[in-house]
Symmetry: C2
Subunit: 154 residues, 2 copies
């Protein structure tokens, strides 16, 4: 489905929906679990939409397992990202306001595996990250994960 992202754009349409997404920063020996998305080729953190009937914690564990093959234990909250200036318009008329929770986690099992959604999966060092094609919001969440201090809230 075609989508158009708007960031702080006065021409953006008004939001008519909000879906809870969760993304996870899984750290193992200082490296971060990342995947190359099949849909746009960019490197991203594992995550996706919370489904009705599951908790945020379970959504984080399920999405990470599906997209990377890794089993995780949740360790904390990195941030709540709910800036209404980011909206996504789909071609069926839905205009979704961004709402993402970012959790921290550790690896408890599994091994790297790709999926329909992930072309490559890798443990990424900070140096490697500088050379990967990743969005600003992915980089910001990783930065928040490694900052000391209370969770980010907007």
């Amino acid at each position: 489905m075609a989508r158009t992202d708007y960031f702080d754009d006065p021409a953006a349409p008004a939001a008519n929906s909000l879906v809870v997404a969760v993304v996870v920063v899984v750290v193992d020996e200082g490296r971060i679990l990342m995947l190359q998305r099949t849909d746009n080729g960019r490197w991203a953190l594992p995550g996706g939409g919370q489904e009705l009937g599951e908790s945020v914690r379970d959504a984080a564990i399920r999405e990470t397992r599906e997209e990377t093959g890794i089993d995780i234990g949740i360790t904390g909250v990195i941030g709540i990202y709910s800036d209404p200036r980011h909206v996504i318009a789909y071609d069926d008329g839905e205009v979704r306001q961004e709402f993402a929770l970012c959790l921290s986690a550790r690896r408890i099992g599994g091994s790297l595996a790709t999926s329909e959604e992930s072309r490559q999966v890798r443990w990424v060092s900070h140096d490697d990250l500088d050379h990967l094609n990743a969005s600003d919001s992915t980089r910001l969440r990783i930065h928040h994960a490694f900052s000391q201090g209370p969770p980010h809230i907007d």
Copy 2:
């Protein structure tokens, strides 16, 4: 609108919606900002639904101001409450799965004031809380607010 709450009930209908709510534990000199709800007479924390076009932070500040007269600054995340076993059925067919974020905050101004939603507003000590009619989930969130440790996540 009539509502029916289900907690871990096999007879509960399947959820068909999820709305992000935010509740706030505002602490001042060891006491907690609470209000007596007009709709059911119980003592509760300030909070309500996030509206499209606003962030979680702004929703927390707005709802606290509306319901209690107090202006707050957000200080942290107490928990993410997303247990799918709590659903609320409304008489228009909506079956909402609970999703609440609980934030901590400090008072930065304002003075206690009631509203259409709040019959009484008060700074409550822990001893007073024992004698107030408050729900188990309100008590649990206050307990989490005063526990040391990472945010609650389910």
